[in-house]
Symmetry: C2
Subunit: 408 residues, 2 copies
DNA sequence: AGCTTTAGTTTATTGCCTGAACTATATGAG
DNA sequence: CTCATATAGTTCAGGCAATAAACTAAAGCT
């Protein structure tokens, strides 16, 4: 069940294909095969040979490199009727990466081992709205250092990290171009300070994109093509195509929150007019539903909305129905442009799904008939920690795709 | 100027990376380097070595294979001041592919040599509207056979072909899923019959996608990321990202004609509501402008529209302005979803550009400020033969990317 | 003519994968 | 208990492709 088209020159450079590239490519192929085995099952070298098409001899040699680098380890035996049992292999549980998230109401970190298990997680409530970047990053660094220390005591080495933020990030690296709800514009982050001396450094992700990757890993239906819609204060999106995040040429694809859904609608913080976010963002829904309570916490307001919906209060119901209808228009456009037929609702869209679903499906039927089957409109499987887990998972994945970056 | 990230296992299969894959990858790398040199300049082996990063020895060996396969040939000498002159190389002018197109009002074929020169072209007017597929394909086969014979007399061998049709095609191959203006639904085409015994067979393309690829090849600005919008009876689109056609997971990305631009608008032939095509398709514009002449030819109606516009007739001007405004809404959505910042107008959008441009730019400013610079909204460089040339070019390109399919 | 410069080829070396033979370790039959 | 069988994993010779460096080829310059 492996099937990646093995590319040789991993690191995207202009290097021509040479013989050594084959080694790198096949290291990633073998490591990817190990990573893709179902959790709990530990493939043997022979099984990997079967899955990848490489010979047993090659796999043995490649596995040896990965063992030496400490990326994988041998674990137990796989008896199988007759014959010598295979030696189980798994991604090393003593190597890990750190997922980190900065959001409007909190900062959080998690340590995830290479096999994808969450070893530690810590959330700190913190009002980051309109807070400058440095103190936020300093607080995050303290949190990260503490968790990293705890991981060290468990004998786990943190190799690198991923940081998710609710805004557009510079795909090249360490710059947040705009994060309206944090009040950040073109902010350069000192990512290295978050995890000093980590072998792989820290990568920066858009929150919705990271959450989309977490969905990819945890989807029960195993979908490999979908749009993840993240409903927070803003409305974000992450497009997954062929089990890869699709970011577009500039790195900011999937901005479903700013698709025009009401040409004569209101102004948006992005400068546009009639964007989905002006109808279906949290603030917009709260206001339209009449539950906005300035000063109150966001989760309290959400509780009030849910209560109003349960009570069948017309204003609340109408607000959510309008949001659902407009979400449908945006998803219809997405289906036409990137030819996606599957949607995962996250954030408040997941919470409000019982009330949102029918107007959404009606809208999709009206504007993009036949493009989305109703069973392809689903709710997030990972919940509120999606961005955190996705940021970590993405770093693991990039290591799996280029293991030579670590020793070897 | 070469820089493709060289992938080893070209043919997408599950084959693991072996040593021989390096050879295939580098054959494509060398051939690509030759193909990308400006027309008229013929690179030497040494120049290719510099461009690709391979050593002179490797290039010599790879070039020998390509010469043996007849894909390239040596042509003249490149003196350069001191030193031994290099031997020029170019894609073989005695090998060619055939571009073919079926459209509403005509069928056409062209023979294009591997260097991209159009050797022969033939257009046959024919009313294919609501014509069944077999007679159309039979007529096309006759036209193709004639042109192929003429090419043979020039000493040119036709290796394969590409066929462009105005509808959604099955990415796997030979099926037209739906072509509303031909009246075709789920039609299987016997492509092999078009070019019997051609080494590479015949590939099927969507018309707008093929035209987008032709734009890519002929753009004066060298843009490698853009949306091509094809205005015909229907409105189609082709998305080019990183010099590659982006087709999405199902193969039908870029359907800009069916983005919702007027949520309370009219019904569309696709079953949707308020699609761009209902406002900006040729029939819609003609009707709104009051120049619809049933029975008259399409080009006569277009002339009437241009005359009305030049005369400043309010109804015609308003129709085009409305189309431009709605086109802006669709392009705004595209910018958000795939993060594209450049648009090429084709078909009637190119013809109407003088009247369309201002309302389009105003609309983009209103709905997606900052996403498209006005100089990134341009008119097609290839004109009406885009689909034809693009279909041929795409087949050449696939040969360049996998030269081992031919002899070698 | 002879020096310099650049193009292209030849040769030895290296790295990696493959295939086949070989060793290791389990189950099951007699 | 022992031997046949089956499967896992390793070792070793062979081949292919790229590299580096030396070498040959063909021009201009003095």
């Amino acid at each position: 069940m492996v099937m990646p088209a093995p590319a040789v020159a991993g690191s995207g450079g202009a290097a021509p294909g040479s013989v050594g590239d084959v080694r790198r490519s096949n290291l990633a192929l073998v490591l990817g095969a190990i990573a893709e085995f179902p959790p709990g099952t530990h493939p043997s070298r022979a099984q990997i040979a079967g899955a990848t098409g490489l010979t047993k001899a090659s796999v043995s040699s490649l596995v040896l490199d990965l063992l030496d680098a400490g990326i994988i380890r041998e674990i137990g035996l796989n008896p199988q009727g007759r014959g010598r049992p295979g030696v189980g292999l798994e991604l090393s549980p003593s190597r890990a990466v750190m997922g980190m998230e900065i959001n409007v109401d909190y900062i959080s970190v998690a340590v995830v081992d290479l096999a994808g298990r969450v070893l530690l997680r810590e959330v700190q409530e913190r009002d980051n709205r309109n807070s400058p970047d440095r103190p936020v990053l300093a607080a995050l660094a303290v949190l990260a250092a503490g968790v990293r220390g705890a991981a060290g005591e468990l004998g786990v080495e943190v190799l690198g990290g991923g940081l998710a933020v609710p805004g557009l990030v510079d795909p090249a690296g360490a710059r947040v171009l705009t994060a309206p709800n944090l009040g950040w514009v073109n902010v350069h982050l000192d990512l290295a300070a978050l995890l000093p001396e980590a072998a792989l450094g820290v990568e920066l992700f858009n929150e919705a994109n990271a959450a989309a990757l977490a969905e990819l890993r945890h989807r029960p239906d195993g979908a490999s093509n979908f749009l993840f819609v993240s409903g927070e204060v803003g409305v974000g999106g992450g497009i997954v195509i062929g089990s890869e995040l699709f970011t577009g040429p500039g790195g900011h694809a999937g901005e479903v929150g700013h698709i025009v859904v009401e040409p004569e609608g209101g102004h948006c913080s992005c400068g546009g007019t009639g964007c989905l976010e002006t109808v279906a963002g949290q603030d917009a829904i709260f206001a339209a539903a009449g539950v906005a309570t300035d000063g109150g916490s966001r989760s309290a307001t959400m509780s009030a909305l849910l209560q109003a919906l349960t009570a069948g209060e017309p204003r609340a119901v109408a607000a959510v129905e309008r949001a659902g209808g407009c979400l449908g228009i945006a998803l219809a456009a997405t289906a036409r442009i990137v030819n996606i037929d599957s949607v995962v609702l996250g954030g408040h869209f997941a919470v409000l799904e019982p009330w949102l679903r029918t107007p959404l499906l009606n809208s999709l039927q009206k504007y993009a008939p036949g493009k989305y089957a109703s069973e392809r409109v689903t709710v997030s499987a990972v919940g509120e920690f999606g961005a955190l887990l996705g940021a970590a998972g993405s770093v693991i994945r990039s290591l799996v795709e280029a293991p030579h970056r670590l020793h070897a």
